[in-house]
């Protein structure tokens, strides 16, 4: 078994309009950064099991644009694009992310903050997705909660024991 997995992704909802994803990787941060910002490497992991990536354009500079296109197994094209707002090599990338499948894609864009911190050769990556509104957040999570989702989620922590 060549690949060391350092655990599963943990998703939390810190606020009504945010999503927070955290995961550890068994590699130093400069390597993780490389895999996140090199088109040929992004193409190998970003689309997950959903399809093949046909486009991974990355102009890695503040104000530079990125665009990812994936073709799903049922031949649909799914595209995202955005702009880099802040870049600290090997540590932090802030960029917008617009889903091209909705009207006013740019007005509904999220702002993603990716951070990488390393300890003993293990890198912790966090992704904070700041959505323009709670509605957009809920669509991303694919839940469609209208009211009280955040409270319900907070509350889950307390009642988790009765969910089993």
């Amino acid at each position: 078994m060549a690949v060391t997995s350092s655990g599963t992704a943990v998703v939390t909802l810190p606020a009504d309009d945010q999503i927070f994803i955290k995961r550890k990787f068994a590699a130093p941060k400069h390597i993780v950064y490389k895999a996140l910002t090199t088109p040929e490497l992004v193409k190998r992991w970003w689309s997950s099991d959903y399809g093949e990536m046909t486009v991974a354009d990355i102009d890695l500079k503040v104000g530079g644009k990125w665009r990812y296109v994936m073709v799903t197994k049922d031949s649909r094209e799914v595209a995202f694009h955005g702009e880099y707002r802040e870049i600290v090599p090997n540590e932090r990338v802030v960029s917008t992310e617009a889903y091209e499948g909705v009207p006013d894609a740019d007005a509904n864009a999220a702002v993603n903050t990716v951070t990488l911190t390393e300890a003993d050769g293990v890198t912790t990556m966090t992704v904070l997705v700041q959505c323009p509104s709670k509605d957009v957040r809920d669509v991303i999570i694919n839940s469609g909660m209208e009211v009280g989702m955040q409270k319900a989620y907070d509350y889950l922590e307390k009642v988790a024991v009765s969910l089993i």
Partner: protein, 122 residues
């Protein structure tokens, strides 16, 4: 314009029910165990009719259950109606985990390559 998943009305109500701060206080109190209504009244510092009203809402969506014990009505918590939200977040988590499992493979290769290039201290 946006796709929304349909869901059962009772589930929606459960989310609405916990959105109200007083009702969350009641649920918090019940998270510690079953309690009679008097105890909840004392804890919340609200009038009994107020508390009863909130308890009724919580019962209607299935978040609390009640039983008679002598002359007391005992209330207890049932978290099950909140499970759908838990599942949705878990689904999202799973899709990120799949993506990151692929990233692990890429990282492993990059590490090997770097070591092979003699950049390592070993």
């Amino acid at each position: 314009m946006m796709i929304r998943m349909a869901r059962a009305a009772t589930t929606a109500d459960a989310f609405n029910a916990v959105a109200e701060p007083r009702r969350r206080q009641i649920l918090d109190a019940l998270a510690g165990g079953e309690r009679p209504v008097n105890d909840l009244v004392a804890r919340l510092g609200l009038a009994q009719p107020q508390v009863s009203k909130h308890l009724r809402v919580l019962r209607e969506v299935g978040l609390v259950e009640v039983r008679e014990e002598g002359r007391q009505r005992m209330y207890r918590l049932n978290g099950q109606p909140l499970k759908p939200i838990h599942d949705w977040v878990k689904d999202y988590e799973r899709s990120w985990s799949q993506r990151f499992d692929r990233l692990d493979v890429v990282l492993e290769e990059l590490k090997e390559k770097e070591d092979g290039e003699g950049g390592s201290d070993e």
